[in-house]
């Protein structure tokens, strides 16, 4: 009899890695996000796709008619639109991932109290973080696919390697999303959140997005090369024409390290925020 009572009123502990942080149920968080996004936010989703296309038309075709051709990654000349298109794809991967992992997370964290509710269930902070990041990546993958298709239609793709721009964009988005979420966990006010835009806009304008890095004096070149977006821009530009060098690997490694650091920091921060 005691045995029956005992089995009713006591729980078997699990021996899972990261016990109190992770319950192996990322899928529930992910599918919640899909459901919520499909229900309410699809207009924002569409606008996120349209924005880089508008840039491509305005800068690539408009400005491009003045610029003409420009030296591509291998040195051979390509159309200006084909030069900036991969860069815009990298920017859109960055923007999407950063929006999802900063403003969106900030709101859910501080106002909607969504994570508070989630963490009163079997979910751990790591389930929540990974689920939200995966969601950002799904969105990033959709944008990347759409934008690559537009590039194809506009005749800006010259190599089959260009298809790899889609997974590469997801890797870029992953780096920004995991880092963005960690940074957002430190933010307490809207004023602090504005700092994110303050960093993003110059990065977008100056990461060799619209012209080659060589226009800068050397110290500034070094600085730009330390920033993540430059690595993303260069990686996608090389994939678009199918010309690679030893630096291709460096760009990839840069993002892998960024992803790893971001995840470690995010988990640490979520633990601090929610298990205080």
């Amino acid at each position: 009899m005691t045995q029956v009572l005992a089995s009713n009123m006591s729980i078997e502990p699990s021996r899972r890695f990261l016990g109190s942080l992770y319950s192996g149920n990322v899928r529930a968080v992910f599918s919640r996000g899909v459901k919520a996004t499909w229900g309410t936010n699809w207009a924002i989703m569409v606008s996120g796709f349209v924005e880089p296309v508008l840039y491509l038309i305005a800068m690539g075709i408009g400005l491009g008619s003045l610029v003409g051709e420009i030296a591509g990654p291998g040195g051979e000349p390509i159309a200006y639109a084909a030069y900036i298109a991969p860069a815009l794809l990298a920017v859109s991967a960055m923007n999407g991932a950063v929006y999802d992992s900063t403003w969106n997370v900030f709101f859910k964290l501080n106002f909607a109290k969504l994570y508070e509710g989630m963490l009163y269930t079997s979910l751990g902070p790591l389930d929540v973080a990974l689920g939200e990041i995966l969601l950002a990546l799904l969105r990033g993958a959709m944008y990347a696919t759409g934008f690559t298709a537009v590039m194809g239609v506009m005749g800006l793709i010259t190599s089959p390697w260009a298809l790899l721009m889609i997974p590469a964009s997801v890797v870029i988005a992953f780096g920004f999303a995991s880092f963005g979420m960690a940074i957002t966990s430190y933010m307490k006010t809207f004023q602090q959140m504005d700092w994110i835009n303050f960093v993003m806009l110059p990065m977008f304008l100056f990461s060799a997005t619209f012209y080659p890095l060589s226009v800068y004096p050397e110290p500034i070149q070094w600085f730009i090369q330390a920033l993540p977006l430059w690595h993303g821009v260069e990686l996608l530009r090389q994939l678009n024409v199918g010309v690679f060098g030893p630096d291709t690997l460096l760009h990839i490694v840069y993002f892998l390290v960024m992803i790893l650091l971001g995840l470690v920091l995010t988990t640490f921060r979520l633990r601090k925020l929610f298990l205080k």
Binding site: M9, I11, G19, S20, G39, Y120, L123
Partner: protein, 313 residues
């Protein structure tokens, strides 16, 4: 195999302490809750009730002491412990981006429960919460009482053995409160252990088998509502009004009547076993109060006696 951890209590706290820097929110409290009990935590704002609830849920780490929920430490085994908990937080944190019924389904998914279980369970809970016709409504279209009922329904999606309710009826109108009490009572009858914080004394008297009064992070008293009234108050209370300017001065003339006398700015309270008899003594002394009222002692008298009348912020 002998299970040595077979607990007779579903919650066991001993010397539980929580500090935020220098501030001591919970100061070494101990209590045990047997299965099926409705256990209340009473106290003024900032007494440490919500912090205690958070530690039970494993979402706040204690600074000291021991805590086991159904035999496990919620800090070490958060996900497993919470699989058996239902939580109704002080402020509704429903998912505003999802429809009413989806709130239940998605929340159930967080526990890893299969849809084949969740679909009928969600309908059952909507009915329980009297929200059956609102399943497809948006959450922000619900009234305060409906949201509260949905939050409670959501907390039951995993068939919890323990339900944590942090001020479940604060901000609700009387009708909504009574409906909620009725629902909570049914859960108690079904064998769910209820842990409840409140500062409504009538709520505590209605729902709790046993309660602790907490102030400044410490337990001031413990027992059933009736036992606490017996121990810390008299059977009846006589409330007299002599007018604001006279209440204070008349106090001296009332000495010796009843067990205890309390002079407030607006009235004088006399704690006595027989209120009518005390009133007769007063009129015999030639005192003429403007109004007089004899009532039964309530938990509120106990609460105010133990935690004081001054405002705590």
């Amino acid at each position: 195999m002998h299970n040595s951890t077979a607990p007779e209590f579903v919650i066991s706290a001993s010397n539980l302490t929580k500090k935020y820097g220098d501030f001591v929110a919970v100061d070494g409290i101990s209590f045990d809750v047997p299965p099926g009990e409705a256990f209340g935590l009473l106290g003024p704002n900032g007494a440490g009730k919500s912090t205690t609830m958070k530690m039970i849920g494993g979402v706040s780490q204690r600074t000291g002491g021991d805590l086991t929920i159904m035999g496990l430490d919620p800090e070490q085994h958060g996900p497993e412990v919470r699989a058996h908990l239902g939580v109704v937080p002080q402020q509704d944190n429903l998912d505003e981006e999802l429809k009413v019924r989806d709130n239940l389904l998605v929340y159930g998914r967080y526990f890893g429960l299969p849809m084949s279980y969740l679909q009928p369970k969600a309908d059952e809970l909507l009915e329980f919460a009297q929200l059956s016709d609102k399943g497809k409504a948006r959450v922000d279209a619900l009234s305060g009482g409906m949201k509260r009922r949905l939050t409670i329904a959501r907390s039951l999606i995993n068939d919890p053995k323990i339900l944590l309710l942090d001020e479940p009826t604060t901000g609700l109108d009387p009708q909504a409160r009574h409906i909620l009490w009725d629902r909570l009572f049914r859960l108690k009858e079904a064998g769910v252990t209820l842990i409840l914080t409140t500062h409504y004394m009538d709520e505590a008297e209605q729902l709790c088998d046993r309660l602790i009064v907490v102030d400044k992070g410490r337990i001031m008293a413990e027992g059933s509502p009736a036992a606490l009234i017996r121990e810390h108050s008299t059977r009846e209370v006589l409330e007299l009004r002599f007018g604001s300017d006279r209440n204070a001065t008349v106090g001296a003339e009332l000495e010796g009547i009843g067990e205890r006398l309390e002079t407030l700015p607006d009235r004088v309270l006399i704690y006595a076993h027989d209120g009518e008899a005390a009133l007769e003594q007063i009129t015999a002394r030639g005192l003429r109060p403007i109004t007089s009222l004899v009532r039964r002692s309530s938990l509120e008298d106990v609460f105010l006696r133990l935690t004081g009348r001054s405002l705590v912020d």
